[in-house]
């Protein structure tokens, strides 16, 4: 087995410690930022939706601000966003490099992205359900938690899936500016030194990660749609 691997990807085997380290870093970034994105992004999306004109907590100024934040952060290319947020990252995390340094820019890129997906998912809930819930005497909080969030679970699962896939993509880009992870590993060895076996290995692993996320996401959507 070892012989076989050495024959097809000699440079990966040679640097297997670095490779596993990079893989762990990617998982860490996706895991930590994924959780942060869900914890911050879902409430962000709910507020974005609920403060819209005509919605249950309609509030023009709040909606305007959230909407602009969303648009601005989504329109900045990630590589520039990461550079802009370097100072903030040093301030909060104490560093601008490594996994720790990547958390802030990745979170700023992912939260607005997921927020939009959540807003879209909640908009799909039929308006009649809101009216029915109001007629039953539900409060805005009950309507959000017991009607909107509950009914939008498949849409939310789709949004989280797409967001995690983008996040995997962003972590690879973060590698270009010192974040570590598989992206960084592929750039320093696969690209700079021309070790094509390293490039291909990283590529295949990322494809497997994305497929896995998509498959799990699809299963959740299927299970929660009635």
């Amino acid at each position: 087995m070892a012989e076989f691997l050495t024959s097809i990807m000699p440079h990966v085997v040679e640097r297997s410690d670095q490779f596993w380290q990079a893989f762990r870093e990617t998982l860490q970034m996706v895991g930590i930022v994924g959780v942060l994105a869900v914890v911050i992004g879902i409430p962000f999306g709910v507020l974005l939706f609920a403060t819209k004109p005509g919605a249950i907590l309609q509030n023009r100024p709040v909606h305007f601000i959230l909407n602009k934040i969303c648009d601005i952060f989504r329109s900045i290319p990630f590589i520039l966003l990461a550079m802009i947020l370097l100072g903030l990252s040093r301030l909060i995390m104490g560093t601008g490099i490594g996994v720790k340094g990547a958390i802030i820019p990745l979170t700023f890129a992912t939260v607005p992205f997921l927020g939009r997906q959540i807003e879209g998912a909640l908009s799909e809930v039929p308006a009649g359900l809101l009216e029915a819930a109001q007629s039953m005497g539900c409060s805005p909080w009950e309507i959000i938690t017991r009607v909107y969030l509950k009914e939008a679970i498949p849409g939310i699962a789709r949004g989280v899936t797409i967001t995690l896939i983008s996040l995997i993509n962003f972590t690879a880009i973060a590698g270009a500016i010192g974040a570590g992870g598989l992206g960084s590993f592929a750039i320093s060895y696969g690209h700079s030194r021309g070790y094509t076996d390293i490039m291909w290995t990283v590529l295949i692993i990322i494809i497997i990660m994305v497929s896995l996320v998509q498959t799990i996401g699809n299963a959740v959507v299927k299970k929660t749609s009635h």
Binding site: P126, M136, C138, E151
Partner: protein, 341 residues
Amino acid sequence: MITLDHVSKTFTGANEVHAVRDVSLTVDDGEIFGIIGYSGAGKSTLVRCINLLEKPTAGTVTVDGKELTAMGEKDLRQERKKISMIFQQFNLLPSRTVAQNVAFPLKGSGLGKEVVRKKVMDLLDMVGLPDKADAYPSQLSGGQKQRVAIARALASDPKVLLCDEATSALDPQTTQSILHLIQDINRKTGITVVVITHEMAVVKEICHRVAVMDAGAVVEEGTVFDVFSSPQQSVTRSFVSTTSNLGKIEALIAADDPMTALAPGAVIARLNYGHSNVSEATISEISRRFNVDVNIIFSNVEIIGGQSLGGLVAVISGDRVREAIGYLSEKNVVVEVLKRG
């Protein structure tokens, strides 16, 4: 039970819409009250003014002795639990089972799990769906969905049930069964029911009293029998005519149908009977007495609110037609001569 006092609702925006104009209505405790109108007449807005899903721009709404228009949001939510509503599109929560839908309004009511379970099963029994507790709404037919919606509406033991076009998305047979279910519940529980519809047949089937809406205003109101037997407004007459075929004669006359060709001296007349004379043999009576021939083209007898109401369209011919018509009028039959030969 429900009192609307000079209620108006105006939607402001690019162009102002006066959806409800100065409506005053009283719905008595335990009655089934119909509100009928064409689409756009404002009836759906009016019914939403009862539970304040639409806030009236003027006027007051009082339900069960409490003025809802004077309440804050929190008290209003509490009162809404006593005013249930069912909808044309059912509005069941698709991600919840039938039992979870019915139990939805009971959350926070302080009832124990077992009590809720029992209540839900009793309600599903009542609407005839005891075996669908664990089904999802998407697995049900339209009629079954509306039954679930009714069960859910009754879960909070409301005093009022508002039905917004509740049968408009259903086929005629299912409509009948849903109407009878509502009627049955009204009789058993004494719940006050407000029925919004554009179908006169629905009003005729279950309502005690009816208000007719046109362009945001109530133009006519009364017992269903009175409104049917002597409609005052043209919009009311056009609704009444939808449930009978007596109105078809005008179209036949206009089209010069051979059926409407008359011999000299003959007339086409429409006769309307009230409940007091529907059973009398007035036709054979005039035939014998005045030696006229009566050829019945259309006839219609309805039982409304336990009283019968009838009418017919006939060609009356002979030498003494005028006297025959005079005699009918004496007998309190309303005679309209539509065409003379």
